[in-house]
């Protein structure tokens, strides 16, 4: 078996070397935060290499293409610990890499972007979903591969409205991220004609995610918490902080479906996604990383593929040329979502369909049929050009 494999490979390698004697090296840095935060569900606990595993696969994919174009892509990973300065870490990465894929909180990302501005390093935001990074706080040196909260909320909102579940009971956590997600969901309700019949806040009073007494107490708490609500079709939970949402399905006082942070969830990617050739991608990921692919993995994969795509189109490893091409009108990338992904030129956000998943299956993909737009239906998700506050600089 090895023999017939090696022969042709050897011949191919020889041919490739003849084509491209001296490959151009294109360095990509990955800057993330060390450690993972606990989730309510054990199966959703992210791996230590969440994100980088996707970047690694994209580097491999880029290098397969690179064999034919004479380009070689490298990945340098750096994860900062709490209290460490992200700017220092980013600057060190930027010395060796023209591109940095970042999974950082919004404020840290902005600091890094401003510190690296004069260097010409191009940043890819793979993790932060904050709308403000694409609006008032947008930067000309950050490309956003991650979707925004408003894109996620709109994707869910379109489906719920299409399903005619238009009366929402909104339950919001007490942390900042939860409140921002609730803002996005309220905006989606207004845009697509749903009604929030009541809002409730779930206070985080602290405590462990997992206890030895298990579900006994939760089974009593959740029905009581959702008792005496006005008539509603679906409970929509905003709980980015992983405090309560996962406890809601099957435990609401009224028998109602749950969506948002539990139940039906909007995601850029899911391990169950197998449409549009995604099976091959999922198989490649599994083979390389021995686990399933998360949304963060996909966002990092997409960022690194964008660099690879621009490098092969421009036939160049030059950061300036690649950056110009990505920001230019002819850039598009395929990412197993059934349509080309392009950049919103007014804020450098990647347009993308959003999957609606239940943890086992892809239930639907937004934008939903019938939500029309004069430029791209993908622009029915999130803030559109006329309402944008972004002035790129």
């Amino acid at each position: 078996m090895i023999r017939w494999l090696l022969g042709p490979i050897g011949l191919c390698l020889a041919a490739m070397q003849a084509l491209a004697a001296d490959p151009v090296t294109i360095g990509v840095g990955y800057l993330g935060v060390a450690g993972t935060r606990p989730t309510l569900s054990l199966v959703e606990q992210p791996a230590e290499n969440d994100g980088t595993a996707g970047a690694k696969l994209a580097i491999e994919d880029n290098n397969t293409t690179g064999k034919f174009t004479g380009q070689r892509f490298t990945l340098e990973e750096r994860r900062i610990k709490e209290g460490e300065d992200p700017v220092q870490a980013a600057t060190a990465l930027a010395e060796r890499n023209g591109f940095i894929v970042a999974d950082l909180p919004a404020d840290a990302l902005l600091k890094v972007a401003d510190a690296l501005r004069d260097r010409g390093t191009l940043l890819f935001n793979a993790g932060a979903i904050d709308d403000r990074l694409r609006e008032a706080d947008c930067r000309a040196n950050i490309i956003h591969a991650a979707p925004t909260r408003s894109m996620l909320a709109d994707a869910l909102g379109q489906y719920l409205v299409w399903k005619k579940w238009s009366r929402w009971l909104l339950v919001v956590g007490s942390h900042d991220g939860d409140k921002l997600y609730a803002d996005a969901l309220r905006r989606a309700a207004t845009r697509f004609g749903a009604k929030i019949v009541q809002e409730r806040t779930f206070e985080d009073t602290g405590g462990a995610r997992r206890t030895d007494s298990g579900v006994t107490l939760i089974q009593r708490q959740m029905p009581v918490f959702t008792q005496a609500a006005p008539a509603y079709d679906v409970l929509v939970a905003a709980d980015e902080s992983e405090v309560f949402a996962a406890y809601l399905p099957y435990r609401t006082w009224d028998p109602r479906p749950v969506a948002g942070s539990a139940g039906l969830m909007p995601r850029s990617w899911d391990a169950a996604q197998d449409q549009w050739g995604a099976t091959q991608m999922q198989n490649r990921f599994m083979k390389l990383n021995a686990r399933r692919m998360t949304a963060l993995d996909m966002q990092a994969w997409t960022a690194v593929r964008m660099i690879g795509e621009a490098a092969s189109r421009t036939n160049s490893g030059d950061v300036r040329k690649i950056t110009d091409f990505i920001k230019g009108p002819n850039f598009e990338v395929a990412a197993f979502k059934g349509t080309r992904l392009t950049l919103r030129d007014w804020n450098l956000q990647l347009r993308q369909p959003i999957l609606l998943v239940d943890g086992r299956m892809v239930v639907s993909v937004s934008p939903q049929e019938g939500f029309l737009h004069q430029v791209s239906e993908l622009d029915t998700l999130g803030y559109d050009r006329p309402e944008s506050k972004c002035r790129l600089k």
């Binding site: 017939w4 494999l5 022969g7 042709p8 490979i9 011949l11 191919c12 020889a14 041919a15 490739m16 084509l19 994919d61 397969t64 293409t65 034919f68 174009t69 050739g277 091959q280 198989n283 490649r284 593929r305 795509e309 092969s312 189109r313 598009e332 990338v333 395929a334 059934g338 349509t339 080309r340 791209s376 239906e377 993908l378």
Partner: protein, 390 residues
């Protein structure tokens, strides 16, 4: 019992010309193990019992005792010529149904499905051997290519492809088969006579489209994520050139005179025209359909008429086949077919072009001269590939 019931339903429906619905017994979970000879006999006897419910053969139809259309085309054609009143276009088309795990057999005289053959999991690429004796179908989830005997219409053998075969092509002599294996970035070379694997060629990420130059010297493979057409010398099995095309190239087709290679890009929404000598993109066909977003136009299958003057391009979720004048490289007409049109095949007399429509589970029949869709035939779930007996 349930299966018998649905067969009866299908028989009665066939009689009044209404297409059969997807059968409950067909579809997921039907593995290789169920396709053994007793099963085959059962299928044949079912067809025999169906025959009792069929209307008597009409003028021009030639049937065997089992009610199948005679696979001996020559006989049919002779009969047709003898009885000048009848159409001389009785061919047999095989359609792979990606979700049903079946192959539908269509008779192009009556435009009906005459048999549904159970195959392995996820059948996609499908092609006749050059001698017309076998139909090869890539069953990706079983990591193999199955051989259907065109005479008995049953699976008789498998070919040693690599993992997840999707599309394949063969040389003019029908001796060597080249298979794109999506999962491991290789093209597998198979000796068709010995049915043995000869070797592999490393290509780009997710190899898909496969075709061979008319002189048999150059094999073309397109890789979906690398976005290239790889030119492979069939003698040395080495890549001699790589041509960058628009995103997600899915299908490649030579002009019969070998002057141009056409490559469709599903996500890029275009067809690149490549000069095979210079290895350069020399033109592009683009599509514009009023009322449809650019994103919905996703070119996949390409069919080129023998005179190389007209190309047909399947546009996926745009639900249309574009008719392209190859001289001007402009679209002259869009033909509305079924939903999510994938691939296509001409009848050997080139009177008709059949397209597989993935989402509407049917096959559209295009009258090539009139450039009109004249018929729709219901097949299994998610029809994908199509081949017609030579």
């Amino acid at each position: 019992m349930q299966a018998e019931m649905s067969d009866v339903m299908r028989c009665s429906r066939r009689g009044d010309g209404v297409p059969p619905p997807p059968l409950s017994g067909e579809g997921w979970g039907e593995g290789v193990s169920t396709r053994e000879s007793p099963q085959e006999e059962k299928t044949l006897s079912r067809i025999a019992s169906c025959d009792a419910m069929r209307p008597p053969p009409q003028a021009g139809e030639v049937r065997t005792a089992r009610g199948q259309i005679l696979p001996l085309l020559r006989a049919t054609v002779l009969v047709a010529i003898a009885l000048a009143a009848m159409p001389a276009h009785a061919f047999i088309a095989y359609v792979s149904n990606e979700k049903s795990n079946t192959v539908s057999v269509i008779d192009t005289d009556s435009w009906t499905v005459t048999k549904t053959i159970k195959v392995g999991q996820r059948p996609r690429g499908i092609e006749f051997t050059r001698d017309g004796k076998f139909v090869m179908v890539a069953v990706g989830d079983d990591d193999t290519i199955q051989m259907i005997d065109a005479r008995t219409q049953g699976v008789v053998d498998t070919l040693p492809s690599g993992p997840d075969p999707e599309l394949f092509t063969q040389d003019a002599a029908g001796k060597t088969l080249y298979v794109a294996n999506e999962n491991d970035n290789t093209v597998t070379v198979i000796d068709l006579e010995k049915r043995a694997r000869l070797g592999d060629i490393q290509v780009g990420v997710e190899p898909e489209g496969m075709t061979i130059s008319p002189d048999g010297k150059t094999l073309i493979n397109t890789s979906e994520t690398t976005n290239m057409a790889h030119f492979i010398d069939t003698g040395s099995r080495q890549i001699v050139a790589n041509v960058l095309v628009d995103p997600r190239p899915r299908f490649a087709e030579f002009k019969h005179d070998a002057s141009e290679l056409w490559v469709s890009s599903e996500i890029g929404g275009s067809v690149s025209i490549i000069d095979p000598g210079k290895h350069e993109v020399i033109g592009k066909v683009t599509f514009e359909i009023p009322g449809l977003r650019k994103e919905a136009i996703q070119p996949v299958g390409i069919g080129m008429t023998k005179d190389d003057k007209t190309a047909f391009v399947a546009l996926g979720p745009a639900n249309r086949v574009a008719v392209v004048d190859t001289a001007t490289r402009k679209v002259t007409k869009y033909l509305l077919v079924g939903q999510r049109v994938w691939h296509m095949a001409f009848t050997p007399d080139e009177k008709y072009l059949l397209t597989t429509n993935g989402v509407s589970n049917d096959v559209s029949v295009i009258d090539v001269a009139a450039q009109k869709v004249i018929k729709t035939i219901q097949v299994g779930e998610l029809p994908w590939g199509i081949t017609i007996a030579p």
